[in-house]
Structures are given as C-alpha cells and as structure tokens.
Assembly symmetry: C2
Homo-oligomer: 324 residues x 2
C-alpha cells in the first residue's frame, strides 16, 4: 500500500479549496498527426507562479495552531521559498527562509515582498539546511520540508487530481491514458503517482540529462545520489530525491525520460507562442518529453504538468531568439 | 436606450457556454500603495489568443443554418481573421479571409491551420473589404463584420460580464468600481459599456497616441476618422470606430486615455513576469492606463481587459530586454 493514499489527496483538495487556484487546463493539438492530444495543466498560473504553493499551504494548514504560531522556517533557493512565505503571510505568522548568498535578486525580492525574513547561508543546499535547522532549534519554528513529506505530497497531488477530473469531463469520460511529470525532489511526482495509480493512468518522468536522480534510483531499486550537471532546468536538480517520494514512485512510474536544454527551451517557446503562457525551463521538461516520445500502448490523451513559470527575463529573451 | 442591451449580452453568454473559455481573472496588487486593486481579465488565454473568438462565434452561431452553410467571408489582418476561421471550423463550414499581401507569415499560417482560405488583397483595409464584398456577392457567403455589429458587440461583452461577476464574488459583493478597456474598432468597448452601465461601473478607454479615433470622436460628439500613427499596438489602429460602438460608447464612457509604446511594453513585461502570461502590446494598453492614472472618485477595484496575446516573438524578446 502506498504511504500516501488517494483519500489524502482528496482531503488536501478539500482543505485547499479557495486557497489555491484551480489552474486552467489547455488542450494542445500539436501532436494530433500521431493521434495524441496533450492536456497541459498550467501550474505556472498558480499563486507564486508554481505548484509549490499547494504543498506549502497544505502542510502549513495542517500544523496545529499552537505549533504554527511559533513560525515557519525553510531552506530553498527557488519556488518553495516563495510558497512558504505565501503560506506564512496567509496565516499571519512569521517565516524565515535560508537562501544562498548568490540567490538571484529577483527571487530574494519576491520572498521579501511576501513578508518573510531571509537568512543568507552559504551557497550549497546543505549549508542552507543546517542554518534552517539551527533557526528551528533556537526559535521553535517548524521546518516546512521542500518535498519529502506526506502533507507536501498530498498537496502537490491536488494538481493532478484537478487535471484528471477535468480531462475526464472534457473527453466524455475517456480521460487521460498517461501523464508526464517533471521531477526534482519528487514531491509533484509522488502526488501524481497516488492519483494516477488509483485511476489506471500510466506515469512517466522527465528529468534533465545529468540531473536524473529519480531515473537512476528507479533503475537501481534504491535511492542514488547524483552530482547534478549544469542545466537550464534549475528547479530539477536536487542531489537526491525524497525517500517517501521514491517509495511511491518505484511502485507506479512506468518509464523515465531525460531532456536537454534545447528541448526545454523549445517547449517554453511553444507554450509562450501557442498558449500565451510563460514557463520556466523546468516547467517545460514534461512537455518536451510528451512532444518527443512515442509512449507505449499509443495513449490518446496525455497529461502534462507545467510546474512553474519563474524565470529570468533575459533567459526568456534568449530562448525566443533561439527557438521562435 | 442603448442599441445593445444587457439581456443581449446575457443571451450571448448562454449561447457561448462551452464554446469559449471562461478565462481566468488575476488579482494584481501592484497599485496597492495607492489603494487600488486591479483585476485582470485574461482574454489572451481565450481560444485563438484573443477576445475576438467571442464575437465571431456568437455572430456565426446566430446565422440561420441555411445562410451559414453558404460560408463565411471576412477581412482582417489580425485576430478577427483567426476568430472567423475558428468559427467556420467549429460549424464545419467554409471561410475565406481577405488578408493584406504583407501580412506576417505567422498570422497567415495560423489562419490556414484553422482551415480557412486566404485571399491576398492589397495592403489597405479598404482593398481587403472590397475583396471580401466581391467574394460575398459571388459565393453567397456571409460577411462577418470585425467589430460593428450587435452580435459581435454582445459576444465581446461576455468577457466583461464574466469579469464583473467574478470580481463581485471575490470581493464579497463589493465588485468593480471602474473598468479600463482597450479600443480599436470599439466592439470590446461597446460590449463593456452595456454591462457596466447596468452595473454602475465607470468605463475608461485606452488608445495608442495618434490612434485615438474613439477619444477624438467622443470629444467631437460625432465619429471622426484618423490617419493612424505608427504604434506597437497594431490591434488598435482602425481609421474609424464602428457606428454602433460609438453610439453606445458616447452614452457611457467617462473619460479617454492615450498610451505610448513604452507604456504598453512595460505593461506587457509586467504581466509576463508577474502573472506568467503573454500579451500583445495592444493587450497591455488598458493595463498601462490603470497603472498610471489616478481615476476619479478613487476607485478601489479596477477591472482591466487584457484583450489578446498574439505577438511576434522577436517583439517580446526586444521588450524584455528594454523593460525587464
């Protein structure tokens, strides 16, 4: 039995009602000639521009008020930092985020706008984590894990729950045959697996080449650490996937795929020009797989999680020049 | 009494149910320090990337089947061409679009993808219109006017109807105090005026400097033709606004505003970076006004129609470099 159940995701959806956006789903006919309709779940249009708002708001909402009122702390250089800052501001509590000293100014500014306190701590993930743990000990604040926690997974899973329900309604009950999910720490993937396992939908992963901690772990049958290679997909490069997330994924994922910078860039430009939405390169990884791969059993309806849209404008300008 | 009534817009909304997207509304707090919340209606996420799908689908749907089956014809270099092509493909009928010989390749390609036939006819609007009229005479096809028709206006008005209802729900009944609308031929404006007049919401216009046919007409009390100046807002430069649209607007519009290329560019970049959505420069004109003007009576909730997102990628790349 999976350590997170469909019922947990359904309960999370109930708790998150009105707190997160039910993001739109875009039908994409670019693969029609090979009989595939893509269904794009636009989590780039979620609060703070990424699906991370779901897990953080759910996890923080599940804390007992006495615990929650002592404040939150987390470590992140990316979207999870904004998600925790958002959750803290919604609950009117204090949040401290350990961020790298070389964090992009725009990310620092967004976290500050949401009212969180930033503590700069080195440049590596382990330095940030250590600082967050020290803050938690000193202040009694609760650490909100970025991806490896059942409440984070259940919250993230609500994106897939919405997608699956909407496609079923829009295809007269046929529904999705397969879903492609971008993988960093694996929280979004684990949530997707829980929903898809219950619905009989095949799950495929997308990771950047050289940042394939999940693919390597699935192949090895145990969690494997990688030295992440340079990639445009900066949201998809943890050293190691979550233990809980791996445990869920290894029972459900059908196959793993890898993408390169050029494919993510082309996916980003496709969504920008055809669907008028901005993705971050990580957010286009699953789409790149769905546009390239002939998946087994010829699925007619393939879901794609577009995970976020927080990207440096100069990167977008460059990708438009290269791919448009 | 206005020549188009609220009931006409409500009926159009009923007819369009399931045919157009109920586009999302984004709350924008960028003007919070002066006490203004902006509510952005994302018609760039509408089918074919612009609100024009609403008017065309409504107008074509209202044609008697015998008439409709003889085909459609229109003249447009822009979003209306795609909107009519979409409507024809939905109804399984033939459409011919008169387009300028210098139309951008991407616009020609999109119309062809939707299955319409293109007739190239000169470079001016009057040459295109003449060709369309000739085709209508020869084939019995019906001309679908780009903006000056009650069915087009009622269809376009459904965007405002959705916005007004959604903001009312999200503000515990307070609702919009004002709405800013971009104006080309004035169809979107006329539809907005019908809805806002009934709801007691002030309406303001946004036109590019030198393309202010509506502002000049409102000032003169009669329709005035302009020689449109060069502008980034290529969707907002007709020589003359629609007669019906002027008739509605002159009873309702509270004030007119003009924007320059730089303001539209900044608005485009704001929406791209903060809301993860792509606008065409025309689509950012009303936002530019809402971000700049202190409107009369200190409105707390200001609606903004983001009209479309069809823009050349190289323009986006340039604007990102200039404004991000």
């Amino acid at each position: 039995m999976l350590p997170v159940q469909l019922e947990d995701v359904q309960n999370a959806a109930e708790r998150l009602r009105g707190q997160v956006r039910r993001t739109p789903v875009f039908r994409d006919d670019s693969q029609a000639q090979r009989g595939v309709t893509l269904w794009l779940k636009a989590e780039n249009l979620q609060h703070i521009g990424a699906f991370k708002a779901r897990g953080a708001l759910h996890a923080v909402g599940r804390l007992p008020p006495r615990v929650r009122d002592r404040g939150l702390v987390t470590y992140s250089s990316g979207n999870h930092a904004q998600a925790v800052a958002l959750a803290a501001s919604r609950f009117g509590i204090r949040a401290t985020i350990a961020m790298p000293t070389d964090a992009p100014a725009v990310k620092v500014a967004r976290v500050r706008e949401l009212g969180a306190t930033i503590e700069f701590a080195g440049t590596t993930s382990s330095e940030r984590k250590k600082r967050a743990e020290a803050i938690a000990r000193e202040t009694g604040a609760t650490i909100i894990e970025p991806f490896d926690h059942p409440h984070i997974v259940a919250g993230a899973g609500t994106a897939t729950l919405e997608l699956v329900g909407e496609v079923r309604a829009r295809t007269d009950g046929a529904g999705l045959d397969a879903l492609v999910v971008p993988v960093g720490g694996g929280g979004l993937l684990a949530g997707a697996c829980v929903v898809c396992a219950a619905a009989g939908i095949d799950v495929y992963t997308a990771e950047p080449h050289g940042c394939d901690a999940m693919a390597q772990s699935l192949a090895a049958g145990t969690r494997v650490a990688v030295q992440p290679a340079p990639t445009l997909g900066d949201g998809l490069k943890p050293v190691r996937v979550g233990a809980l997330n791996f445990e869920v994924a290894r029972h459900v994922v059908r196959d793993s795929h890898r993408v390169n910078d050029s494919e993510m860039g082309a996916g980003l430009v496709h969504v920008l020009t055809r669907h008028k939405m901005l993705l971050e390169p990580s957010g286009a990884a699953a789409l790149a797989v769905a546009m390239r791969e002939q998946l087994p059993d010829s699925p007619a309806n393939v879901g794609v999680l577009l995970s976020g849209g927080n990207v440096d404008p100069s990167t977008v300008a460059r990708l438009l020049q290269e791919h448009a």
